[in-house]
Amino acid sequence: MENLIALLIAAPLLGAAVLLVGGRRLDAVGHWIGTLLSTTSFVFGVILFADLLGRNADDRTLMQHLFTWVPVAGFQADVTFRLDQLSMTFVLLITGVGSLIHLYSVGYMEHDERRRRFFGYLNLFLAAMLLLVLADNYLLLYVGWEGVGLASYLLIGFWQHKPSAATAAKKAFIVNRVGDMGLSIAIMLMFTTFGTFAFGPVLSHATDASEGRLTAIGLMLLLAACGKSAQVPLQSWLGDAMEGPTPVSALIHAATMVTAGVYLIVRSGAVFNAAPDAQLVVTVVGAVTLLFGAIVGCAKDDIKKALAGSTMSQIGYMVLAAGLGPIGYVFAIMHLVTHGFFKAGLFLGAGSVMHGMNDEVDMRRYGGLRKYMPVTFVTFGLGYLAIIGFPGLSGFFSKDKIIEAAFAKGGTEGWILGTCALLGAAITAFYMTRVMLMTFFGEERWRNQPTRSPEAPSAEPAAEHRGEHAEPHPHESPKVMTIPMIALAIGSVFAGGFFSIGDRFLHWLEPITGHSEGDSPLSAGAVTGATMVCLVIGVGIAYLQYGRRPVPAVAPRGSLLTRAARRDLLQDDFNHVVLVRGGEHLTRSLVYVDHTLVDGVVNGTAAGFGGLSGRLRRLQNGYARSYAVSMFGGAALLVAATLLMRAV
């Protein structure tokens, strides 16, 4: 059975290789090959899942050792895969959602002449992501970690001829690299601490190491997680990442890759448990991000960017939960899974809307679309209800648990974190309602629209050959796109309940992550009640602002906060001024230094000898008598020197 694990990765990897090397002759069938192989991987996943279920709880860890990778003295890195409940969960999520999105893309990318390559990249991503979650040591995980980074780079910049896309891709990669720095330093620390970086020994002996070292390791892991999961302060890339095709945003920047950080933290739980300071920082980062993302989400008119902000915030929830330690791990993962469903669904819905609206992304040019694209409306609506935590739907269960856990942390921390979580819930309700209303309700602002305003540019240039400026004719998307949306909608409705009833999910994961009930100052009921209140408030405000009053087609100037939020709370501006500008100055001055100083010294020496030579040369003036003088002087010197030598 273990030997199937490699096949999980092999299938999409093969797909990537075939599609990318295969060349034009595969253009006709490329997308189907890609979809097939990702589905194959999903099938393997299911088989393995069945196998795990067949075993008893404490024996659900499968290992497959392929070969020794880097053997240098004490430094032993193997290519070994570990399939346990945690990674199994991810495998199913990745391959499942992945396959659905492949299917969706078949329709969505229909008009793109580079569709084959797109599917190649998607498969590459799946392979890397699976490697990430299946690796049995941190170095191998690192390979997957940067592999998904590469895939995301390629896919964000898929429309490379658009400078904005290329820039966004580069930005994503480089910001992620900062995070990767953290991961590699963490690995080095592990090596110097434990003499290894394989999960088994590190996590089992975590407690042997001093707390200081563990804290350092934890913080470095957190840095990595921040980069990959777009947590403050490394969140800036996610918004721009929306330059990529919408399926990419759905798969990579909503469902799977961005949650890798949560996986990393949960996987390294043993380390964090022994380093409370690190945990605290994790929770703080999570809390801050969930508010940050939510606020940004409120201000965006670009539907994808709004959803991106929401993603950021939801992952904030997960990180917060993961930071809570054993209390939260399970719920972090649970929310991760449910979020995978509904957020992917929402993105696909958004994609479908744009598909019908000439790739218009500005929600101020939507409105009243519900009657034109009913399926999209329904699926999107269910996803909406799920994310705001409408009772009975997935989000309700997962988010509620996290809020409880936050309070359960206990002490002032508990109160602060819990409050943040509640606040987040309220804001979530607000901005999601806003999206919903602006898109599917209200009057049809897309009719006889004026020439588009510069600050809301078309996201997808594929539009160019779909008649850019003609008035859109909203229409429902083809089956190949709607089916995945429906599937995801089902997931987002029932997953939560299915997991929570009888704590199925808890029992499934507990052997890996461990679990402990915190002592919550509030009863579960109280927390749920509070959440509901926040929910209602959020929805209410949104309705008052966007449901009752007509939405202006051009964004009003808005309050200071709104404007800041539109600009991602000025974080980009900060980066630009401090890092980009500073860097440019630094490099420019260094180039100057290199040329004038380092090089100048050498050239100067050469020139110096040249000048000296020129001057000495004049002594050779052609007059025999002056030569004689020099000889005479020389002789005198010689004699004098000789006498001197004897004298001293």
Binding site: W69, P71, A73, G74, E146, Y153, H161, S184, S210, D594
Partner: protein, 523 residues
């Protein structure tokens, strides 16, 4: 008296060089094929060496030893340890690609005198360099090494100055002046380094009385040969200076950008991927073995310089407008990593450094050769002259991207393994330095991706709109390199197995052992 395999690996290309040079002016293509075949034959020999080499066996294998210049205490002594074998293989591997990539670089523009045959000269010189590099990898006699370490400058010099990059903005006149400036700069830098080393070599003789690396190292080890501390340090500095120029280490690096910028892409690869490796190799083999104490004494300074090279090189790479200069500064940064690994004095560091030499050779070759193809198409080295190439020449762009990713040492590609080993090796002994060095990987991402974005993505510039994609010959050059990059990234074991024993030897030469993990140390 078995067959002198090592001598053969050097003599074959040398003879090939002579033969190629002798091909009559009219028969250019014949000369090219001859050179290619010779280089391939050399590769075969190198593979034989690799096979015959037993990692578990004696330190130096396939040794040869003959009397040469008794008065100078010089013997003709050859022998390879794992490190040498790896680099020998790298050299023999790269030369065919270099020759193939430079297939048309030396076709004469104007029909000069009938006796003037640049093409023959070009390929003959490349083979000559190969021969000299190989023998300097094999030499276990300091003097023998020194002779070829120096002599290899001459053919290199002619390659740089005589066969410049055709793609030049300011026209042929400016081109030739800048070219000869670069060539002279290259030669003088390295010559000065070499001459200072000469003084040290003489000094070594006055102390040791002979030049046999093995004998001296042994005598040093068992204390029969004692050096005054100051003497050892001076000698070490003399040697190290030459190697640091060759490597190149900040602040002795400025010759490299000029040289790489002005020479044709294959020659640039020859410089940075093959010739410069002799410098780092020699640090590992001669500095550490002959002067272990002095090496340890100088370690902090060298580590700092290496660190500066890493960051400084990367930052300057970001600031470059010229593709080849950018690659040159990137190489400076990478050599910083190599030197860091060597002087971290840990087995990870040194194995990593050796592996790094090999991988850097391959990755730079891939990136630089593709860049060369690109430049030859557009006739300009300025990044600003490109844009949107990806649209018109996807394969070229793809290979270029892979080259770039290798340069930023993406996991899964060969350079990652070595870079991480170096970092770990450094970190275990010098955490602070290790961490600072890690910033290099972010900067690497910056300069490579900026380069890729500016040249390959964005709207198609009119000048590149008609650019043809890679031709068959060019694919033949690039594809194997890429395959190799991926293979060594996934399965570097073959190389590490060869290298590790030699590294352990070196570690014991300098009386260093890897630091223990904190957990064990605590117990």
């Amino acid at each position: 008296m078995s067959f002198p395999l090592l001598t053969a690996t050097a003599v074959l290309p040398a003879a090939g060089a002579v033969a190629t040079a002798a091909v009559p002016a009219a028969r250019r293509t014949a000369a090219k094929w001859l050179a290619l075949l010779v280089s391939l034959a050399t590769l075969v020999l190198a593979i034989v060496v690799m096979v015959r080499f037993d990692p578990g066996g004696a330190r130096y294998q396939l040794t040869e030893s003959h009397a040469w210049i008794a008065d100078f205490g010089v013997r003709y002594e050859l022998g390879v340890d794992g490190i040498a074998v790896a680099l020998l293989a790298l050299t023999a591997l790269l030369i065919p690609f270099i020759i193939l990539a430079g297939w048309h670089d030396a076709d004469p523009l104007e029909t000069g005198s009938k006796r003037w045959r640049p093409t023959q000269g070009f390929f003959a010189l490349i083979l000559a360099v190969e021969a000299m590099v190989i023998i300097s990898f094999e030499a276990t006699d300091v003097f023998l090494f020194y002779i070829f370490f120096e002599a290899m400058l001459i053919p290199m010099y002619f390659l740089i100055g005589g066969f410049g990059d055709r793609a030049h903005a300011q026209g042929e006149e400016a081109a030739s002046t800048q070219r000869s400036y670069a060539a002279v700069k290259f030669l003088l830098y390295n010559l000065v380094g070499g001459l200072i080393m000469l003084a040290a070599v003489i000094g070594l003789y006055t102390v040791a009385g002979n030049f046999s690396l093995t004998e001296i190292a042994q005598a040093r080890a068992n204390g029969t040969l004692h050096m005054a501390t100051s003497t050892e340090r001076w000698l070490f500095l003399g040697f190290f200076f030459a190697f640091a120029v060759k490597a190149p280490l900040w602040p002795l690096h400025t010759w490299l950008p000029n040289a790489m910028q002005e020479s044709t892409a294959p020659v640039a690869v020859l410089i940075t991927a093959v010739v410069d490796k002799v410098g780092t190799f020699a640090m590992l083999r001669f500095c550490l073995q002959l002067f272990p104490e002095a090496s340890k004494w100088a370690t902090p300074t060298i580590l700092v310089l290496a660190l500066i090279s890493i960051i400084y090189g990367a930052l300057l790479a970001v600031g470059q407008r010229d593709i080849k200069r950018l690659v040159a500064y990137a190489s400076i940064s990478h050599f910083g990593f190599i030197i860091l690994g060597i002087f971290a004095m840990t087995s990870q560091g040194q194995s990593g450094a050796t592996l790094y030499m090999v991988n850097h050779g391959i990755s730079t070759a891939a990136l630089m050769l593709v860049a060369g193809f690109l430049i030859s198409r557009r006739g300009s080295r300025l990044i600003a002259d490109y844009g949107g190439v990806q649209k018109v020449a996807p394969v070229l762009a793809g290979t270029f991207l892979i080259g770039s990713l290798a340069t930023l040492s993406l996991p899964g590609l060969a350079p990652f393994v070595s870079e991480f080993l170096v970092l770990v090796g450094t970190f275990t002994r010098y955490p602070a330095i290790g961490i600072i060095a890690t910033f290099g990987i972010v900067l690497a991402a910056l300069y490579t991706l900026v380069l890729y974005q500016r040249t390959m993505t964005g709207p198609v510039k009119p000048a590149v709109s008609a650019m043809p994609d890679l031709k068959a010959r060019e694919l033949v050059v690039v594809a194997p390199l890429i395959v190799l990059l991926i293979f060594l990234g996934v399965y570097p074991k073959p190389v590490t197995d060869i290298v590790n024993p030699a590294v352990n030897q070196t570690m014991s030469d300098v009386h260093k052992t890897d630091p223990k993990p904190a957990v064990e140390a605590a117990k």
